[in-house]
Amino acid sequence: MASGAHQEHPPTRIRPSKGWVALDLKGLWDYRELLYFLTWRDIKVRYKQTLLGASWAIIQPLFTMLLFTLFFGKLAHIPSDGVPYPIFAYAGLLPWTFFSNAVTNSGNSLVGSSNLITKVYFPRMIIPGAAVGAGLVDFAIAFIILIVLMIYYGVAVTWNILMLPVLIVLVTLLAIGVGMWTSALNVKYRDIRYALPFLIQLWLFASPVIYPASLMPSKWRWVLWLNPLTGIIEGFRSSLFGTNKFDWIALGLSTVITLGVLVYSTYTFRRMEKVFADIV
């Protein structure tokens, strides 16, 4: 705003809120640059004063993949739906690593930003949002290794790849939903900080990262589908390798659950948001 020239703003009304709180989309849009700057800060700060810098984004899924290949692929002979196990595992680890890091970081983001929350106003959703955003950058870096692996194993790309952006959006929305909810709960109950790593670990085994969903007897496969990550991870493999058909029912269920989680967590977040500054 140029000095002196006052623009006519609609007045800001501050009232105690009751019941349902509208999602202030305009407010979020006004602060989109802050989202960008906080994401940028998270990335910048994470790799400052580290020896290996951004290659950590690659090291984590790559070494996990090597370990999985050794123990689950070579020793336990877990099937991999007709693609080499390393690339099978990596294609699952890619969305999984993004999701677990994004949820962990955004879950702790509000508590870690208490100095901001108690001093400045901005839409609080930006904080967990930025943590997920920073995870997307790591995801993009780790994706390069997947391309290298696919060339190495001679996996041909099919039209199925067109679904990939949709799946990335889906896993991002799920990470935002879960991350936002845990971040708000974490402000109120600090137990979350301790429970989260443990729950994430359990979630890994409940998702078809190490094993294909086809390992589950088809009679019980629907149990796996209740985990929204199942459809997403299996979808990742279908779109990348083209060997398996998309399981549209699983994907549809994932989408519905993801949107449900997102709506619920947005509602919870908005409801709890007003007391953040008092209790964080």
Partner: protein, 448 residues
């Protein structure tokens, strides 16, 4: 375009205080409740069928929820005022009067419990300079980050970048992480970003209490400039000279309500001199509500004369006694009472603590009440009102357990009867203290 910048109507903000700080259940209690639900339901069913006496589970729960609800505090209550566009308004009051809470509500950091606020124009708040600064990032990066946090657009920051750097005088360190900055440089940079925010309404909370004198002067200049540009400024401060210099209107808050609103010198007078006898003594009878923490809590502070009587006014020639009582709640640390003697201009004349008593210093501390009395000799303080900041701190590591600004105050008067420092001189006597010193005076032979 509206002439009113801020209108506040019946504003109230309630906090829950007490053992359970915020009145929330822990997850464990929630889970417990949930886990017990089937049993309670079953028991209720049994009760309605059979003739068992009332279940005990309610009795187990009720005391807890009772304590949870018992203590609430209205930090603001029924506050109403209007501020016109372009007004520079100071907000004063004791600690806990609700000044900072008011600014937090106005800047939308926390939500009010009752009432309504309408704000016309963009709000910028300097509740603490350097908010969101990251020590690992460089000066340049922090300018952009901090600017974005304060609500500036990127092109706006770019436009003002050179101005900010020039104001902060950090040009040669722009690409150094701010963790290597001196505290002065850090403060300058942080204030520079905030000062270039150019909002319609600026909320300022005690930012100028830090930094060196020349920096403070610079900040003051900037604030005056902001005021002259026709922006609305709301300014919380403990510094009366600053309020007098910057503000054209002052609001006095006391225990969450507006008790005076008007010309700064009148409101300040009201603040400093009203209710004088009660200013010679402050008592917190309930340990749980007294200022402090788990190590020490303040019980009382009193101003006494040499006969042990509570006094508001003391003759400049007489000694004065400041008595502080505090609860020591543990036995490993050495909590000690600290007094700052502060004059009407906000200048700390001197500070003192009870370690000056060597015997007490070497005494092991046991939990219990402690009374520490500091005696200030006559013919030492200058005329005027003296305000006492009372603190209880422990050293190694240095922790402040209690900090009460303006806890008590008293008036020093000089009756000019000829035997005080000023002697028979009746004009203006300068100096922040007025000690009676030894003079050696002899006549000398003319031809030395």
């Amino acid at each position: 375009m509206s002439k009113i910048a801020i209108s506040v109507e019946g504003l109230g903000k309630r906090y829950s205080i007490g053992v359970r700080q915020h009145g929330f259940k822990t997850l464990r209690e929630r889970v417990n409740d949930l886990a017990l639900l089937p049993f309670r339901t079953a028991r209720r069913l049994v009760n309605s069928n059979g003739h068992e006496p009332r279940s005990q589970s309610n009795d187990n729960n009720n005391p807890k929820s009772a304590t949870r609800k018992s203590s609430t505090l209205w930090a603001l209550r029924d506050v109403s005022f209007e501020i016109k566009r372009g007004e520079v308004v100071g907000i004063i009051g004791r600690n806990g009067a609700g000044k900072s809470t008011l600014l937090k509500v106005l800047s939308r950091i926390t939500e009010p419990t009752t009432g309504a606020v309408d704000i016309h124009g963009r709000v910028g708040s300097l509740l603490e300079v350097g908010t969101g600064f990251h020590s690992e990032l460089t000066g340049r990066e922090n300018i952009f980050l901090n600017g974005a946090i304060l609500g500036m657009r990127r092109n706006e920051i770019e436009r003002k970048f050179d101005e900010i750097v020039a104001f902060a005088e950090v040009d040669s360190f722009l690409d150094t992480p701010v963790k290597h900055y001196s505290s002065g440089m850090y403060m300058r940079l942080a204030f520079a970003v905030s000062a270039h925010l150019e909002p319609d309404i600026l909320l300022v909370d005690e930012v100028l209490s830090v930094g060196d004198a020349s920096f403070q002067k610079k900040c003051l200049g900037k604030m005056e400039e902001v005021g002259k540009q026709g922006r609305t400024v709301l300014f919380v401060s403990h510094s009366m000279p600053m309020i007098l210099r910057l503000c054209e209107r002052t609001i006095l808050l006391d225990r969450g309500t507006v008790v005076a609103d008007g010309k700064p010198h009148e409101v300040i007078k009201h603040y400093l001199y009203s209710d004088t006898l009660s200013q010679a003594q402050r008592v917190w009878p309930a340990k749980g509500e007294a200022p402090g923490d788990s190590v020490a809590r303040l019980r009382s502070a009193r101003v006494l004369n040499d006969e042990g009587q509570l006094v508001d006014t003391i003759d400049i020639r007489k000694p004065i006694f400041i008595e502080v009582e505090y609860w020591n709640l543990q036995d490993s640390l050495r909590p000690t009472a600290v007094l700052h003697f502060i004059n009407e201009e906000g200048i700390c004349l001197f500070a003192t603590n009870d370690f000056n008593n060597a015997e007490w210093f070497s005494t092991p501390r046991r939990p219990g009440l402690v009374r520490a009395t500091c005696s200030v000799p006559g013919n030492f303080l200058a005329e005027g009102r003296i305000f006492l900041l009372v603190a209880v701190v422990s050293y190694n590591p240095n922790v402040v357990h209690v900090l009460e600004r303006d806890a008590v105050s008293f008036q020093v008067v000089d009756r000019s009867e000829g035997d005080a420092v000023r002697g028979v001189f009746t004009g203006e006597w300068p100096g922040v203290i007025r000690p009676m010193l030894n003079w050696q005076v002899t006549g000398l032979p003319e031809d030395l």
